[in-house]
């Protein structure tokens, strides 16, 4: 069981996410993270999905996603084929930060940054791989962590251009 990333490019139609999710659901696969946004190409939406399974299953899932009428392309990657990041936000009580010099050290060592400071709390932001955001979480939870949220993965390939661009050139 390895972690795979599937990148999906689709037309901007209602219900695509539903169709993609169905393909996972039917096979009892858990989507580990998901991020959806307009892509750099106008009118094309991009889905980045991570899921833990074996290669054969994930290849099949990618092909089944691509089979959906409104899906332009679906690509399957392992972590070594992409550069990826997640973003995490942590809310810590302000007095912990003010009273405890350790918190400041933790932020510095984890290369995190402070987004907002109020009298009640401080919001810390950290980007990185899951392991990185998790490591900071493990430390901050000793300081009365109030809230924690982590985004889905964003990823780009290690090639020089968006793979979809070539596809669109051949298909428009």
């Amino acid at each position: 069981m390895e972690l795979y990333t599937i990148t999906v490019f689709s037309e901007n139609q209602v219900g695509i996410l539903n169709q993609i999710a169905n393909i996972f659901t039917r096979r009892g696969l858990n989507i580990e993270s998901l991020s959806v946004s307009p892509s750099s190409i106008e009118g094309v939406h991009k889905f980045i999905i991570t899921c833990r399974s074996d290669r054969a299953m994930m290849q099949r899932v990618a092909r089944l996603i691509e089979k959906r009428v409104d899906v332009l392309k679906a690509y399957l990657y392992t972590d070594s084929e992409i550069v990826y990041q997640e973003i995490a936000l942590y809310k810590v009580p302000a007095d912990q930060l003010l009273d405890n010099s350790n918190v400041e050290r933790v932020i510095r060592e984890h290369n995190a940054r402070i987004l907002e400071i109020t009298r009640q709390y401080v919001i810390i932001e950290k980007t990185g791989h899951t392991a990185d955001t998790d490591a900071l979480f493990q430390e901050l939870k000793h300081y009365g962590l109030l809230q924690f949220v982590r985004s889905g993965r964003v990823a780009v390939t290690k090639g020089t251009e968006e793979q979809l661009t070539r596809f669109l050139l051949n298909h428009t």
Binding site: N22, K67, V71
Partner: protein, 572 residues
């Protein structure tokens, strides 16, 4: 522009159906589809509407129509329960690659998501069981969406498409401007055929000593029956057919080995595990075909032709995958193939056919004194229609028996629910089949279980005076489940005995002629009277409840582990 004509979404739909050459609409009205039915009223002469007695009947009738005509079947229903009643048919059509354009009414857009009367999430519900599903919210989208629906349903690997037509869009007006859809950048229905796998396939087939062709529904969908015969004859390869591919090669063709799979013909299943090369055309290695995949054709090189890329290596790994329309692939393959002869190989398989004849077919079809077997009925009915009827089946023993003992002379002659195995499919599907080909005899085989799932469609047959010959193989049991209970549950017949009505009286209530066959000696004459009768006819044949379908490859067994009755394994 001055000549821009503003018309309602409903009127637009009617005009498009005409443009797309729709011959029939199968449907059932209701509140949220009323504007469409009102528009239909004005187009009665152009688009005949077949009112079924239940929405499930409408969609199965549309499937029957599509399967025989090759054109998309069109279905109308209202929102809510009208739409939910269609879901089984959608799943059935998706499993069996049947083109349908399904139009469901939907509440006004301002009520969407507010739990309005008869509102359901049709798009959400239908997405997993359709090829495409879309909600039309404004009249401006009607032309675009309907054009796209016909294109998507009927191209590539065909399938069902749903248009959830809001009441708002049915009533609102927009400019009439229709262009059929011919292309979508996100959808490539006809793959560009690659020459490399074709060449590799030719090398394998040309050097094969024991070639086998397995042909499926894709052959019929691509209208590649002629090409299939040409390839088989040129390389002298025997042919096995899947359930849905049964009429892709005439049963009398010297290379036709019969049906593949669980209740298929012994020579096909034996050949599968002896062939050195298998050419699989438009079939998907369904688990009812393969049995245990880890023991399936391990010795053979497999060439797989399919229009749907996701079928490759799904259950059986392909040595050569040819991603193409079956007809194009066979056309291009033919000139690369050497004329060959495999008399020894065919001779090797012959004893298996003879053994099946002796061990299974003869006992099943011969006239008995004590009781009537389904095989005897089916083979006699088939012969009474010159082996030339369109055979429609329900699901279960009746289906396997009619698949095994019907014979076929021309393409597009088998209509059955293969992938989904939908009981209740038969009767409405026969309605669609007859409307598609009024010039051909339509014979429907069903059991007493499936009949009662959609029996109300006798009303549709009555109303339209459809000449459908209904052969009820009546054993007062859910026979297929009973057989499995006999085999695997020590004859604990849990919930399979049926208390049945007097089916003759039911036929008579609908003005449909009928006859009861109690005794074996009555059978031939009754079949002759049915065949001679003009119009619908119900032949209620009382079948021995112990009559079971054999041979069988049991689930999980290798395809060539075959039982010829409850206890005896075929020894070859």
């Amino acid at each position: 522009m001055a000549n821009e004509e503003m018309i309602s979404g409903s009127e637009m739909l009617m005009r498009i159906l005409q443009r797309e050459g729709v011959e029939y609409v199968f449907g059932y009205p209701g509140g949220s589809i009323m504007p469409v039915y009102d528009a239909l009223y004005r187009h009665q002469g152009d688009i005949p509407h077949i009112l079924t007695r239940h929405e499930q009947g409408a969609i199965h009738a549309a499937e029957g129509y599509a399967r025989v005509s090759g054109k998309p079947g069109v279905v109308f229903s209202t929102s809510g329960p009208g739409a939910t009643n269609l879901v089984t048919g959608m799943a059935d059509a998706l499993a069996d690659s049947t083109p349908l354009v399904i139009i469901t009414g939907q509440v006004d857009t301002e009520h969407l998501g507010f739990d309005a009367f008869q509102e359901t999430d049709v798009v959400g519900m239908s997405l997993p069981v359709t090829k495409w599903s879309y909600q039309i919210r404004k009249a401006e989208d009607v032309a675009w969406a309907v054009a796209r629906a016909f294109y998507v349903a009927s191209t590539g690997r065909p399938g069902p498409v749903v248009l959830d037509f809001t009441h708002t869009a049915q009533c609102a007006k927009a400019v009439w401007d229709y262009h059929p859809c011919t292309r979508l950048r996100s959808y490539a229905p006809v793959p560009e055929i690659q020459s490399k796998p074709l060449a590799e396939a030719a090398v394998l087939l040309n050097s094969s000593r024991k070639p086998l062709i397995l042909a499926g529904h894709g052959v019929a969908l691509a209208k590649a029956e002629k090409q299939l015969a040409e390839v088989a004859e040129k390389i002298d390869a025997p042919v096995g057919l899947t359930l849905l591919g049964l009429s892709a090669l005439p049963s009398s063709h010297p290379l036709c080995l019969g049906m593949a799979g669980m209740h298929g013909n012994i020579p096909v299943n034996i050949a599968t595990n002896q062939a050195d090369v298998i050419l699989a055309v438009g079939m998907r290695f369904d688990n009812r075909v393969t049995g245990a995949t880890e023991h399936y054709a391990r010795q053979a090189k497999i060439i797989h032709i399919d229009i749907d890329e996701t079928e490759f290596n799904k259950s059986i790994p392909a040595d050569v995958a040819i991603h193409a329309d079956a007809r194009e692939a066979l056309d291009k393959l033919l000139p690369l193939l050497r004329r060959n002869e495999h008399a020894d190989w065919r001779a090797e398989l012959k004893p298996h056919a003879e053994a099946e004849e002796r061990l299974v077919i003869q006992p099943e079809t011969a006239e008995r004194e004590d009781c009537i077997h389904m095989g005897a009925v089916v083979s006699r009915v088939s012969a009474a229609f010159g082996d030339d009827a369109i055979v429609v089946t329900d699901v279960g023993l009746n289906q396997m028996m009619s698949a095994r003992y019907s014979r076929f002379t021309q393409p597009d002659s088998i209509v059955t629910s293969g992938g989904l195995g939908t009981m209740g499919f038969g009767l409405p599907a026969a309605i669609g089949a007859k409307l598609a080909r009024p010039d051909r005899e339509v014979v429907l085989f069903l059991g007493d279980g499936g009949f009662q799932m959609t029996m109300q469609e006798l009303g549709t047959i009555m109303e339209h005076n459809l000449d459908i010959k209904i052969v009820l193989l009546n054993n007062n049991f859910l026979g297929n489940v009973r057989q499995m209970q006999a085999m695997f549950c020590e004859r604990r017949f849990s919930a399979t005995p049926l208390a049945n009505p007097d089916f003759m009286k039911i036929a008579s209530a609908y003005g449909i002629a009928s006859e009861d066959v109690e005794r074996p000696e009555q059978l031939d004459d009754a079949i002759a009277r049915m065949a001679a009768h003009k119009g619908a006819f119900l032949l209620n044949v009382n079948i021995d409840e112990e009559n079971m379908v054999f041979p069988i490859t049991r689930g999980g067994d290798p395809v060539d582990t075959i039982y010829v009755n409850l206890t005896d394994r075929y020894q070859g």
